[in-house]
Symmetry: C2
DNA sequence: TATTGTTATACTCTATAACTATA
DNA sequence: TATAGTTATAGAGTATAACAATA
């Protein structure tokens, strides 16, 4: 329920950028890992390759990213943001940071740190 | 990611009872609130009425619950578990408690309490 | 032979409109 | 008129199989 509450705050905020949360995640990972392949993206976001193709295609048509041949592996395609994509993500990441702060304003800074630490302990085993 | 990790543990455990998590939630709420209406269930689980109908129907066909006319409101139907449904839920709730303990075994008892408190603070505002 | 990316497709989940019967 | 439950259906998300190009 807590996760849904936070997502419920972030989702409409991302809609202002024409992005769903998964789109933001895709662009954010490419933003910080230029040249990453679709395979690596699927691993990072737990997406299946067939379900990533359409999303990448849509973002490419919007002019936010480009696919170009991978220098080492002819099968793969390296993904990079366009200047427009980078500009959008700079704004979007600021917006997400603000929305996260807003979603967790019921917690003190110390509580927020504790929560993140405990959640990490949970999913890291 | 933490929520997905916990769900990932509970989901296969519930599959042994032939239940998805939403089915468990439906049966659990009826178990502890006999006579509850579909409308109230939708509110509790954030489901839309058309999407509850089929689930209730399937559980009814399995002999786990029954629908009978509501004593005060002729439009509504009161939901109750059958003896078989109650027996299943007693086992399933024990299993879930065990799976939750297993999912959170990386945390101490105090940390588990703290986590729950902080998550409640988050979604209660 | 194995892997990356892709297409086609099926299945599930979620959402909206419209109907019935009761209030 | 409004509401509880239902039906039909559309859309999004998620899954598997199979193929072309490359390793």
């Amino acid at each position: 329920m807590a996760a849904l509450a936070v997502i419920g705050h972030i989702l409409p905020g991302m809609a202002r950028f024409g992005l769903r949360i998964v789109d933001f995640s895709i662009l954010s990972i490419i933003f910080h890992n230029p040249g990453i392949t679709s395979k690596q993206l699927c691993g990072a976001l737990n997406l299946l390759p067939p379900n990533l193709v359409g999303k990448i295609g849509t973002l490419e048509k919007r002019g936010l990213l480009v696919r170009h041949p991978h220098p080492q592996d002819g099968r793969a395609l390296g993904l990079q943001l366009t200047a427009e994509g980078r500009a959008l993500m700079q704004q979007a990441e600021l917006a997400v940071a603000g929305l996260e702060a807003q979603s967790t304003q019921a917690l003190t800074t110390a509580e927020r740190r504790t929560l993140i630490r405990l959640l990490q302990k949970l999913y890291l085993g």
